[in-house]
C-alpha cells in the first residue's frame, strides 16, 4: 500500500514539476512592450503629456496667472483660487504627466538602442518640454531615474540639475545625424509635426532658448552665454510654426483636454473670467475679448461681460467682498461646444482647440527677449507674435496692426525692463487660455505683469495687474502668492526619496 502511495506522489510530482502547462501567465489579449512599434507608442506618450498640460496644469496655471477665478456658484477649484492646494490635491497632475512621459521615455530608450535618430529627437524633445513644466511647478523632480521600470523609487534631481540635463539631452539628440537614422520613419503618428523633422529641430532649439531664458535671474552668466550661442549659430533656427496637437475632433474623449475636463464635471462653469485679464482687455479695447469670453448669442446683445474679482467666489468681509456674481462670464474654451451663428467658422469652439506645447507666438516672444538680451531689438519678433495671436483668434492682421502701433506699441526707446514688461505682458495675454502656467512661471521670473497694490474692488485697480486672491479661505499672509505645487501624496507615500515638503509660497530656484 505504502508503495502505491509513494509512487503516486513521486509520479505526480515529476509530472507537475516538469509541466510546461503552467507557463501560461502572459495576458493573451495584450501586446507586450517588445512587440509594440515606436509608431504605436509615441501617440500614447503625446496624448499623455498633452492631456496633463492641456488639462489640469492649464487649470492651475490659468488660475494662478489670473485668467480664471472660481465661480461663486460652485466649488471645484476653490483650493487653487485660495492658494490652499495640499499634497492630497491634484495628484493626477503629477502622475498623468509621468504616465505619458513613461511612454515617451520608452520610445526614447528604444530609439537610442536602434539608432532611430528621428524618434530619438522627437522623444527627447517631448521629454524635455514636459519636464521643464514639471520642474518649474514642483522644483526638484525625478529626471534621470524617472520612468524606469527597474527603479521604483527614483531619486530627485535638483531644479538646477534638471535644467542642465535638459540642455545636455537636447544637445545629444540634436547632434545625431538624422540622415543616418535607422528603422521606421515618423509620419502621422507624430501628432505634432506629422514627421517634419526640421520642425522638431526648431522645436528643440526653441526649448533650449526657453531653458536659458528662464535662468536669466538666478544664473545670469549661463543664461546669457547660452542665449548668445544659440543666436549666433547659423545652423540654429527657431520654431516658426506651432508645436501643437491639433487633431481633436470635438467629441467626448476625443476633444481638447481643458474642454473635456470641464465637460465631465457636474457643473461646467466652475471657471469664470477673472477681472485681471478681463479688465485688461476691456481697458485696451482688445478685440480678443470676444473669442476669449463666451457669450450666449441668442440672448446677450449687446454682449455682456461680467468679470469676477480674483478669488471672489464667496463673501470675505475682511477685504470688503460680498459674494461674487453668479453671472460672471465663462471662458469660451470650456463652453462653446458647437458652431453658432456668430461663429460660423468654429474658431471659438473649445472642444477642437489645439493644445500648444510651444506656440509660434511663444517662440517669437522668446526670440524677442533673447534679442534684447543680446543687445538687438526685439520689436520685429514682438510685433509678429502679437499679429500671430490675433490671427489665431480670428482677427485680421490689420486689427492687430492698430494695436502694435497703438496701445501695445513696442517701447523701442524704452529701457530693457520696459521692453521686457511689454514682451512678458503680451505673452501673458497670448498664452490664454491653456498656457497660463507659462505666464505664471514668467511672472515669477520677471515680476510681470505687475502686482496690484490694491484689491480689485478698489476703484483705482488697474486691469492686467495681478491681484491677491479675494477668497475668504486664503491661509497665506496677504500679498504672498503661491509659487509652486506641493509634491503629491502619491509620490510622498511611495518614494522615500521625495524631498521634504516646502511651503507653497517658497520660490522655485530660478525665481529671484
Amino acid at each position: 500500500m505504502k508503495k502505491i502511495i509513494l509512487s503516486i506522489l513521486i509520479l505526480s510530482t515529476i509530472f507537475i514539476g516538469c509541466s510546461p502547462d503552467l507557463d501560461i501567465n502572459k495576458d493573451p489579449d495584450l501586446l507586450t512592450p517588445d512587440t509594440t512599434p515606436l509608431s504605436s507608442q509615441l501617440p500614447a506618450g503625446i496624448i499623455g503629456i498633452v492631456g496633463a498640460e492641456g488639462g489640469i496644469m492649464s487649470i492651475i496655471g490659468g488660475f494662478w496667472s489670473q485668467y480664471y477665478s472660481q465661480s461663486s456658484g460652485a466649488n471645484q477649484f476653490r483650493n487653487i483660487d485660495s492658494y490652499t492646494v495640499t499634497t492630497n490635491d491634484y495628484n493626477y497632475a503629477w502622475t498623468s504627466m509621468y504616465d505619458g512621459l513613461s511612454d515617451i521615455k520608452t520610445v526614447q530608450r528604444k530609439a537610442l538602442a536602434e539608432g532611430n535618430w528621428n524618434y530619438y529627437l522627437i522623444a527627447t524633445t517631448l521629454y524635455v518640454q514636459a519636464s521643464q513644466i514639471m520642474t518649474d511647478f514642483y522644483g526638484d523632480i525625478p529626471y534621470t531615474e524617472a520612468c524606469n521600470p527597474k527603479i521604483l523609487t527614483p531619486k530627485f534631481n535638483t531644479g538646477q540639475e534638471v535644467y542642465d540635463l535638459m540642455i545636455k539631452d537636447l544637445n545629444d539628440a540634436l547632434s545625431k545625424n538624422l540622415t543616418t537614422s535607422k528603422g521606421i520613419v515618423p509620419g502621422k503618428d507624430d501628432f505634432i509635426f506629422l514627421g517634419n523633422m526640421e520642425n522638431w529641430k526648431k522645436f528643440a532649439n526653441t526649448l533650449k532658448l526657453k531653458i536659458y531664458i528662464r535662468q536669466s535671474e538666478k544664473n545670469k552668466a549661463v543664461s546669457d552665454a547660452g542665449i548668445a550661442a544659440l543666436l549666433v549659430d547659423p545652423s540654429v533656427s527657431f520654431l516658426d510654426t506651432d508645436a501643437a496637437e491639433s487633431n481633436f475632433i470635438g467629441s467626448p474623449n476625443y476633444e481638447n483636454p481643458l474642454f473635456e475636463y470641464n465637460y465631465k464635471l457636474n457643473v461646467r462653469t466652475n471657471m469664470r473670467m477673472s477681472r485681471t485679464l478681463g479688465q485688461y482687455l476691456t481697458d485696451n479695447n482688445d478685440p480678443r475679448k470676444d473669442p476669449f469670453v463666451y457669450w450666449n448669442p441668442s440672448t446677450a446683445s449687446p454682449k455682456l461681460y461680467v468679470f469676477q474679482d480674483q478669488g471672489n467666489y464667496d463673501v470675505n468681509p475682511s477685504l470688503g467682498y460680498a459674494k461674487g456674481p453668479t453671472t460672471a462670464s465663462v471662458p469660451a474654451v470650456i463652453y462653446n461646444s458647437s458652431k453658432t451663428t456668430s461663429d460660423p467658422a468654429g474658431i471659438y469652439d473649445g472642444s477642437k482647440k489645439p493644445v500648444y506645447l510651444l506656440s509660434r507666438e511663444e517662440s517669437l516672444f522668446l526670440q524677442a527677449e533673447a534679442l534684447e538680451r543680446t543687445g538687438k531689438s526685439g520689436k520685429e519678433k514682438y510685433d509678429a507674435a502679437i499679429i500671430e495671436n490675433f490671427k489665431k483668434n480670428g482677427l485680421a492682421v490689420a486689427t492687430a496692426n492698430t494695436f502694435i502701433n497703438g496701445v501695445y506699441a513696442y517701447p523701442t526707446t524704452g529701457t530693457f525692463d520696459q521692453k521686457l514688461e511689454a514682451i512678458i505682458v503680451q505673452k501673458w495675454v497670448a498664452s490664454f487660455p491653456e498656457n497660463g502656467f507659462e505666464a505664471f512661471f514668467e511672472k515669477n521670473r520677471t515680476d510681470y505683469p505687475r502686482t496690484s497694490l490694491v484689491a480689485q474692488n478698489v476703484s483705482s485697480y488697474k486691469g492686467g495687474q495681478f491681484a491677491f486672491s479675494a477668497s475668504p479661505d486664503v491661509v497665506l499672509p496677504y500679498g504672498t502668492f503661491p509659487k509652486r505645487i506641493p509634491y503629491p501624496l502619491s509620490e510622498r507615500s511611495y518614494n522615500a526619496n521625495t524631498p521634504k515638503l516646502l511651503d507653497v509660497s517658497i520660490k522655485i530656484w530660478w525665481n529671484k
Binding site: 502511495i5 489579449d29 493626477y92 475668504p472
Partner: protein, 1071 residues
Amino acid sequence: MKQKLKVFVVLFFALQFTFAQEKKITGTVSDNAGIPLPGVTVLIKGTQSGAQTDFDGKYAIKAASNQILVFSYIGMKTQEIAASTSVINVKMIDAGAQELEGVVVTTAMGIKKQKRSLGYATSSVSGKDLTDVTNVNVFESLSGKVAGADISSPAQAGASSKVVIRGFNSLSNSSPLYVVDGTPINNSSNGGGTTADGKSINSIRSFDAGNGISDLDPNNIESMSILKGAAASALYGSRAANGVILITTKSAKNKSKISIDFLTSTDLNQVARVPHLQDQFGQGWSGLSYSTWSGPANANNNASNENGSWGAKYNGETRPWGAMINGVQQTKPYAALPSNVKNFYTTGTTFTNSVRVSGGGENSNFSLNVSNVNSDGIFPTTADAYKRNTVGLNAGISANKFTVKTSINYINKDQNVLNTGQGGSEGGTVAQALAQTPRDISIIGLKDYINNPYNTPSDLYSPYVDNPYWDLQENSTNIRGNRFFGNVNLSYKITDKIIASYQVGGDYRNEKVKSYGAIMNYTPLSANADNGKAPVVGGVTERTNENIESDTNFNLVYNTAIRNDYNLTTMVGFNTNQRRGSSLRASITNLDVPNFYELSNSILSPNVLQDDYLRKSYGVFASVEASYKTDLFVTLTGRNDWTSTLPQGNNSYFYPSLSVSGVVLETPKHFIKLRAGIAAIGNDTGYYQTYNSMIPANAALGFGNILLPIGGVNGYELSGNLGNPNLKPERTTEYELGFESNFYKKRINLDVSVYHKKTTDLLFSRPLAGSTGFSSQTDNILDLQNRGVEIVLNIIPVKTKDFQWDFTTTFTKNVSKVLDIAYGLDKLTLASMYGVNFVAEKGQPLGMFTAYTPKLTPDGRPIVVGSTGYYATATDQSNVGTSQRDFVMGFRNNFKYKNFTLGCSVDWKQGGQMYSYTKRINEFSGNGIETTFNDRNPYIILNSVVEVKDATGNITYAENTTPMTTSKVTSFWNTSSNPGIEAGHVIDKTFVRLRDVFISYSVPNSFTQKLKISNASVSLYGKNLFMWTPSANPYVDPELSTYGDSLLSEAGEFATNPSQRSYGASLKLTF
C-alpha cells in the same frame, strides 16, 4: 434528458411497498426522566417504512406483529422492540457523554470525522439554522452566530454577504473558499464596488449584485462546516488562506421513503435605516433662502436654487420655490418634512417557494429541490427587483463496492440593482440625489418628472442635484445570470481498508450586465440651462462575463487498526484546478436617440474592453491520522501546490500541518477535550502579474479622458501595472489552542479557541510613485499578525416536559497588527476617499484611517487660520481611527413551549471606524443634524487660537476672535474651505441589532396525519427589526459597504443605499 427521466421512474418503482396483515401501533416515547421526546424516529426494521414522534412524544405506525420496531434518537441508545402489542411505550436511555460526542462533522476534502478527533476548531451550521426565518442568502441570519467569523449580511435580496474568518490575511481577496459538495465554487462579485481590476475602490458608480455565494439557495442546504484555522484547511492549499466553508446540499439516504418538502413564504420589506436629519432649516445657502440667478426662470429673485438646507430657520410662511415657468412659480409652506426621505421608499415584497422531492431505493437515492425567489425591494418601481430560480439535484447509486454520486445545481437570475456612489457619465445615483435634497422640498412631490414641468431636468429647483425619481428610473443596471455547478463523484472500495475516490466538478457562471443612463438636456432659457448645468450625455455599458472553473480531485483513503486500540487512517491524493474566464465589455457615451439604450445608439465608436484569463494549479496532498482508543488523535497533513500565476521556477510551495486532540475528562455528565494545532498555509496571486504589457492608450485627465485612435492613429501605452518577475507566495503560519467541553449532560457547553497567526509576504497591488511612470505593481509587501479568541457558550437554563430555553452566545475578537512593510515604508495607502485615506501602517492594526486634522498647539488647542476662522491643518495626515472591531458578539435565545418555538437573535459588533460619504454629503448640504450646531448662530470654534509669528519667527498663540458667522457656517462644513473637518467623516461603526425574531408553530402529528402530512409548521418572523448605533452615526447601517467584500470594504461606504427590514410568514409542509 430522456435518460434522466428513466432513472426517476426506476427510483419511483423501487419505492413502492406493500403492507400486509398490519395493525396500528401507538405509543409514547420519553427520555429516562419521563419527558416525552419529540422527533424520535420509529422504523420497521428492514424496511423504509417509519414514523416520527410528535411534540408530545406520541407516534402511530402500522406494522405486522412479526416485525420489529427500531426507535432511534441522537444521543440515545437505539432500541429494537417487537411489534407484538398495539400500544408500545418506550423509555429511551441516554447513550452517555461518549456517544454524545460522537457528533460527526465534515472536514477538509469532505471527509467526515468525529468531532472529538479534531485538533482544531470548526463550526457547524445546520440547514435548520438557515431556514428558521426564510432567507434569500445563506448568510442572511448568521451574523454573530459563528464564533471566529465576522459575517455581514446582505442589505437586500441579491446583495453580497461578507464573511471574514479570523481577520484579514490577504489584502486583495479575503473571502473564504466555498466548497459545495466537495467542489470549489466561484465567489467573485461583479459589482463595481472596486475598479474592474479589483485593486482600488470605485466611488463613481458601483452596485452590489451579490457575490458567487449569493446564488445559493439556503433551502437546499443540509449543513455548513466552517473550517477556521490553517490546521483545518491546510489540505486545501493555496486557496484556503482565508478559511474554508464546506457546504453540503440536501441529499437523501438509500432505503428511505419518498418525501416531499414544501415551503412558501412571503416577506414585506421596509426601509430600515435612513439618515436622521435636521428639521430646523430649509433650502438655501450661507443662511440665505434666496439666490440670484440670471434669466427669466428667476425673474423675481425670490427663491433659492441650492442643493442644500442652508437657508433661514423655518417660519411656516408660504413661499414661492423653484423655477418660474412662463411667469408661474410654485409655492409651498416653508416648513420641515421630517419623514421626507423615509416616505420616498415603498414597501417591497419577497416571495419564496421551494419544493423538494427526495427518497431512496435499495441502492440509490435522490433529492431534487426547486426554489423560486421573487423579490422587490424598498425602492419604488422594480429598480431593485430580484428574481432567482434554482434547481438542485443530489443523487447516488451504489453497487457492491462502487458508488456514484452527483450534485448538480442550476441557477438563473434576473436582477435589477440600484447604483451607489457619486454618479458618473451614465447618470447620477439616487443616494446622491436624496442626500442633497433640501429638507423642505417634498421628495415624493418630485415623482412625476414627465408631466410636471417643475420636476423635469430643465426646470428642477436646483441645477446641482438630480431628481431622485429620474435617477431611479432613467439610470438602470440589470444583471442576468445563468450558472451551473456541481460534480460527479466515483468511489470504489478496493478492499475493506482502502477506498479510492475520484471527483470531477466545475462551476460555469455566465452573467450579462447592462447598465445605462439617460440623456439630460436642458431647454434653452430654462432655469438649469441658464445655470450652466452640464448636460448628461447618457451612455450604455453592456458586459458579458463568463467564468469556468473545473476541479478534479483524486484520493485514496487507507484505514487500518495497527494493534489493539491503535488506529491509522492515511489519505493521499491530488488535485487539479483550472479557472478560465472571459469578459467583454463595450460602452458608449453620448446617446443619439433618447431613451434607446443599445450600443449602436451613438455617433462615437464604442469603447471595448476585453479580458480573457486562464490560470491553473496542481496540488498533491497526504494526511495521516493516528488514534489511540477514542481519546487521543494526532493528524499530520501536507500539501504541495504548483500554480501558474507565480513566476516559473518559483511557483511550488508546501504546507504542512499537525494537530492533536485529547479527551481529558469524560463522564456520563461531563466532557472536556483539549486541542492544539500548528499549520502553514500559502496563497498565490492573481493572473498575469508577472509580465509587463501594453494597453490601448488613454490619457486620464482627472475628469474625462483623451482616448486613441484619434485622427486615424491608434496607439498603445505601457500598462500602469508593472509586471513583477520576483513574486513569491504569501505564507501564513498559525498556532491554535482550544478546548471543547460540556457539563451536566450538555446543559452547559463551552468551546474556546485562541490562535496566533503570522502572514508574511502578503501580496498586494502596491501603488507606485507616479514618477516611475507606473501606478501599481503586485508585490510581496507586508507582514501581518492576527491574534484572536473565539468562544461559544451554549446553556439550557430550563428544560421541562413542555418548556425548553436554549441560550447561545458567541464572542469573537481578532487583533491584527502590521508587522512590517517592504521597501522601508511605514505606511501603505490601500484606498482614498476624498481627504481620508485607508492605510496599512506599520505597528498598527490593518486598515487604519488617516486624514488631515486640525493643527493643534502643544497643549492640544485647535489652531485656526486668523483670516478665515477655519481650522489650520497639519502638513501631514494623521491617524484618525481603525477599521478593526473590538469584538463581535451574538446572542441567541430559543424558547420552546409545546408546539411553539420562539427564537430571537441579537448581534453586537463593538468598535471600529468606517468612512461615511453619506455623512460628508449630508454635512455639505446642511441636512446633517450636526450642522445645526449653536442654531447656526455665530460662534467661535471652541478653545481655538491663532498662531502669531514674531519677527524672529517665534510662534506664540493668541485667542481666536474670528467667528463662524451665519454665512460662514455653510463653508465650515465644506471640506474645500475647511479641510480640517475631513476626519469627521470617519465614524464609529458599532451597532447592536435585533437580527431576527421568529415564532413558529408545528402542527401536532395527530392532526397532520389526517391530512396525510407528516410535518407541518407555520412561522412568523421579522428580520433586521431594530438597530442601535452610537450618536456618532445617525446616518447609515454600518454593515453597508459600497466597496465589495474584501479588505477594501472595511473602508466604508460611498453614497450607499439603505438596508431593509422584513416581516414575513412561512409555511412548511412535509408529505
